[in-house]
């Protein structure tokens, strides 16, 4: 199954979610440096309207991607989920979007902010795992 984490305006939330998905035991204090290092290694060439990278595989064997652009998440979710459902037949692709559009500087936010963000990330990953399980059972 393919899982794509999406966040608007910054790849950071999607990247943190991908990290949490593939490494469930990862604490937030390690997630930020790991995300910064990953982004440095996978920098996006300029001029692209979106950022899409393969992140890795989860323990369940799912392939995890992350994606970011300026398109609002609800709009993208409505279009893509409709498209996958209609065009993809019984294929398994799940697009999970970080619900908030925070324009803050993710890399340099304080510890309180990080903890608040991390709770959102954990909720997103948990919901995505449940959705993936349900899709696999269908």
């Amino acid at each position: 199954m393919i899982i794509v984490y999406y966040s608007r305006n910054s790849p950071w939330p999607a990247l943190l979610a991908a990290l949490k998905h593939c490494r469930p035991a990862l604490p937030p204090e390690e997630a930020w440096p790991a995300a910064a290092a990953w982004l440095q290694a996978h920098s996006c060439p300029g001029g692209q309207p979106y950022f899409l990278r393969r992140f890795g595989e989860s323990s369940d064997g799912d392939t995890v991607y992350l994606m970011s652009s300026g398109v609002p998440a609800p709009l993208l979710m409505r279009t893509m989920n409709g498209l996958f459902e209609l065009a993809g037949g019984d294929s398994k692709l799940l697009l999970a979007a970080f619900p908030l559009s925070w324009r803050r500087r993710w890399q340099h936010c304080g510890s309180r902010r990080r903890r608040a963000c991390w709770r959102e990330i954990e909720a997103l990953v948990e919901r995505t795992r449940l959705q993936a399980e349900l899709m696999k059972q269908r």
């Binding site: 393919i2 309207p49 994606m67 300026g70 709009l75 279009t79 209609l86 993809g88 037949g89």
Partner: protein, 155 residues
């Protein structure tokens, strides 16, 4: 193949183009204003419908035809849809996306604003409809271009 006609709101230009394609609007003459105003979805979708694929019907080859409003993010949606449909492990799917946004004219824009944003449908809707009558040939050309060369519209 899945066929999607896309414009800003998914309620005017893409609707007319989709129904020309499906044969509900004539190709040998200009339609009457009532024919345009009576189309399903015409001037009826709101901003909450942006991003939803609205089913319009099936063409002569059995391909499903949809209408989509993408706001000002049409190009981004197109690029990301193309990228996601080509992901490794995802089965190949044929999706043609016809962007009708370049054919949105000033009367359509103004009429749409009056009808959709100001809620004055009695004023805005006929103006939009007349805008399409004045611009019908270009819409017809777009549809016929797609029929001649569908490959250039594939994602």
């Amino acid at each position: 193949m899945m066929i999607i006609f896309q414009c800003f709101g998914g309620t005017h230009t893409s609707v007319v183009a989709a129904f020309i394609y499906l044969g509900r609007l004539p190709r040998t003459r200009r339609p009457r204003l009532e024919e345009i105003l009576s189309l399903p979805y015409f001037d009826r979708s709101g901003s909450a419908d942006l991003g939803k694929l609205h089913y319009a019907g099936r063409d002569g080859k059995g391909n499903p035809v949809f209408i989509l409003g993408s706001g000002r993010w049409g190009a981004g949606i197109r690029a990301m849809a193309a990228a996601l449909l080509r992901l490794e492990g995802y089965p190949p799917a044929e999706v043609a996306l016809i962007d009708c946004l370049p054919l949105v004219t000033l009367p359509v824009r103004v009429g749409g604003f009056i009808s959709q944003r100001l809620g004055l449908t009695a004023v805005g809707r006929p103006l939009v409809g007349r805008g399409f009558l004045w611009n019908y040939t270009r819409l017809l050309e777009l549809v016929e271009h797609f029929e001649r060369d569908p490959a250039s519209y594939l994602l």
